[in-house]
Symmetry: C2
Subunit: 321 residues, 2 copies
């Protein structure tokens, strides 16, 4: 891979007048925040800019998408310059991929250390968030970060650090947050919208899932589940269960949390989380899945009762290794 | 009130050899974090130091109390110097009050703007946390903040800013967090212990309370409750309901959340939270209580059904004003 110095990227951004900004499919806060921050900088520099991202945008992300009036659909258009943000490889470009490849100059800015370097210019740094790379880039360019851009970058770095709780929350990340606050980032509003807001159905589904938590293995394993019928009964949507597993994982003494989500009558999506010593990706590998040491997933078939017994047994074996 | 410059406080700390450090009764993270941070600095300076705080220490605070081997019970002892931290007035000193008054030199360090200035030396600044004042003080003293002190100060400022989500989360707070991270603050561990850990009974009580949430006033009011019998049934303790009201408040569209906790057969403790436009302290005033604009409380008597209907009516009236 050809890695690029920041100054080369800056020269390319200065050289072009029209851009398409791309972020990864089904964007999270780092993807959308970075894309809209880049868009705002380009517009403030008097350039033409458009943003193209495949997938649904979470409603809470209106806090940044509201600043962008130029989202476009994937097409065969040719832009002088394409900038891919927060996309570790080309599959992450999704339907925006043709726009990226058609561009005369292709820039990649990303924080995933696995980035494959698929651009003409690749600015890849293992920072806590792509938004943090943009913050540094904007500083070098002498771009005076306004309140809108500050909000976008704050959403980006806050998202990818679990609102400043993950290991990656380093000095540079917090120092960046401080400067974004000074530049006008509305931290209380961002936290309220992003972390302190749930739909009524999601709240109710949370209650149901908590009610069903069972402990196994002397309290080291917590298991809960959600059935297809729950969605209809509560008016919930699929995404409403995304955070449920945390209530199981965060029980004092629990090392591994298991969450089963029914995807059809006899099939379950399996999610696993661990706290400190169990590698759940090894467990997930036994269930057509995989993932990371602390977060992994797979699929299971059978009745709820059989699947529960089977996964608890597998977790116990891994704990006792 | 006689307010004191930081340099005078520094001179007093340098001048004395033995200290009692006091923080407010039933200490939170800012009180305990600040007290133990001060203790560590004094010990590292080769001085004698003891910490006296009335009340129960939350178990999660072991993350800072573990660093202090010199907690003492309230007594009539006379120390050359007493330092009261995070106590806005003398009632907050609780049972440690005689120790404070008996001391030859009495120092107050606090961030509450209502501080009454009851010390011989009063360092009162409206910072986001008392821990932030200590951070500045330690910088001025040339104290090289070690990892233990960094953890204490991080817990202090994280607690009082809602882990960097409240309005008070200013540039200085985040810049301080960045420097504490550099000094060795174990942010992932602190967040895990303080914000991502609940007992099994607390988790179950959360499920019960969520299950009971009812919406009123076109979804602008959410009400839930916990009965005395729930505690026995779940093995829960009183404090396990402290955060429950947030699940009601954080429902999309809810402006006012109401939580009723049964304290004896026909008596309920009332808690109120609002999001953005309703002053709940005005509502609480009608129920033998008071508080802040966004958080207030009171008491009610009657059946659950009557109390619920009565408080919903009162909230509706305030909303419609």
């Amino acid at each position: 891979m050809r890695r690029t110095r920041m100054n080369e990227i800056i020269a390319e951004i200065r050289r072009h007048d029209e851009f398409v900004v791309i972020a990864h499919v089904h964007p999270d806060g780092d993807a959308l925040g970075s894309a809209v921050a880049m868009y705002l900088m380009l517009k403030n520099m008097g350039k033409k800019a458009f943003v193209c991202i495949e997938g649904n945008f979470p409603k809470k992300m209106e806090i940044v998408t509201q600043y962008c009036g130029d989202f476009i659909e994937p097409s065969e258009s040719v832009f002088p310059c394409a900038i891919a943000l927060d996309c570790g490889d080309t599959t992450r470009l999704g339907a925006a991929s043709p726009l990226f490849y058609a561009a005369e100059t292709r820039i990649v800015i990303d924080h995933h250390h696995t980035n494959t370097g698929y651009g003409d210019f690749n600015l890849v740094r293992s920072y806590s968030a792509t938004g943090l790379i943009l913050f540094e880039l904007m500083g070098r360019m002498g771009y005076d970060i306004d309140a809108k851009t500050a909000n976008c970058l704050y959403v980006a770095i806050s998202t990818d650090t679990g609102n400043f709780s993950y290991e990656a929350t380093d000095e540079a990340t917090l120092a960046c947050a401080a400067k974004l606050r000074k530049a006008g980032a509305d931290i209380p509003l961002i936290c309220e919208v992003m972390y302190k807001n749930r739909s009524y159905p999601e709240t109710k589904l949370t209650g149901v899932a908590i009610d069903r938590i069972e402990l196994f293995g002397n309290g080291r394993i917590a298991l809960t589940y959600v059935l297809q019928s729950d969605y209809d009964a509560l008016g919930a949507v699929k995404e409403d269960c995304d955070d449920l597993i945390n209530y199981a994982r965060e029980i004092d003494g629990v090392e591994v949390a298991v969450f089963l989500r029914q995807i059809d009558g006899g099939k379950f999506k399996l999610s696993l989380r661990s706290r400190s010593c169990v590698d759940v990706s090894r467990i997930a590998a036994g269930f057509h899945g995989g993932g990371h040491i602390r977060a992994a997933g797979g699929t299971m078939e059978g009745t709820l009762k059989d699947c529960s017994a089977c996964i608890v047994k597998a977790v116990m074996e891994e704990i006792n290794k």
